[in-house]
């Protein structure tokens, strides 16, 4: 109820209080001369004010309950955001570590080829006799660029 964000709580309680007082005055204190003169008007107006007061009091109670739920939700969201950030850090560390291991292993194999494999007699002979045919290289390179057609 938007009206609750404009009216202060006290105003709602005052409207409700005035409604009750007016109703009591209109229906019970009819014997007092001033009230006796305006009895019907007081009864009608105070009943209307009382109805409005009850309505606004109900709305206010509901509004307060919702406000509480909003605060609960905000706390939950803040907690979730912190948790999400922590999860990101954990995932980041995991991937960085995994990538590091993969790179190191790849580098180790390449170093092993450079330092050990190329010195092996069998390999030296093979390299001298059989260079890799250009067709094979081209096919390899084509396969390495399989994604190019679909990139744009």
């Amino acid at each position: 109820m938007w009206i609750l964000s404009i009216l202060p709580d006290a105003a709602i309680h005052i409207i409700f209080g005035l409604g009750i007082l007016g109703t009591i005055a209109g229906f019970v204190l009819g014997f007092i001369p001033f009230i006796k003169t305006y009895k019907l008007a007081i009864q009608i107006i105070s009943l209307l004010v009382l109805v409005l007061g009850v309505y606004l009091e109900g709305g206010l109670a509901d509004y307060k309950e919702w406000e509480l739920r909003v605060k609960e939700m905000e706390a939950k969201v803040a907690q979730a955001e912190a948790k999400s950030a922590n999860t990101n850090v954990e995932i980041q560390e995991k991937i960085v570590e995994k990538t590091k291991v993969i790179r190191e292993k790849g580098r180790d194999i390449i170093q092993y080829i450079d330092k050990e494999v190329v010195k092996k007699e069998e390999v030296i002979k093979y390299i001298e006799i059989c260079p890799v045919p250009k067709d094979i290289i081209d096919l390899h390179n084509q396969a390495a660029e399989l994604n190019k057609g679909a990139k744009k």
Partner: protein, 87 residues
Amino acid sequence: MRYILIALLLAGCSTTVPVKQKFPNATPELMKKCEDLKKIEGDKVAITEMMKVVVHNYSLYWECSAKVDGWQDWYNAQKKIYDEIAK
């Protein structure tokens, strides 16, 4: 009087609940693109040189695979967190 009546009639209109949840940021490492595979340079290439390129490309594949695994982990973790709020 007319305005008071209109205000009273509209008094029950609802207001929006101001709880906003930010879309979670992705892990920076996951946002990096997978590198292109390396090609073999030259016409006459020794099998060892070709092997080095192949090993390099395998490394790139596994690095990219780690990123895909990371995205899956990220999604599952974020979904779990989101579902906990919605409960």
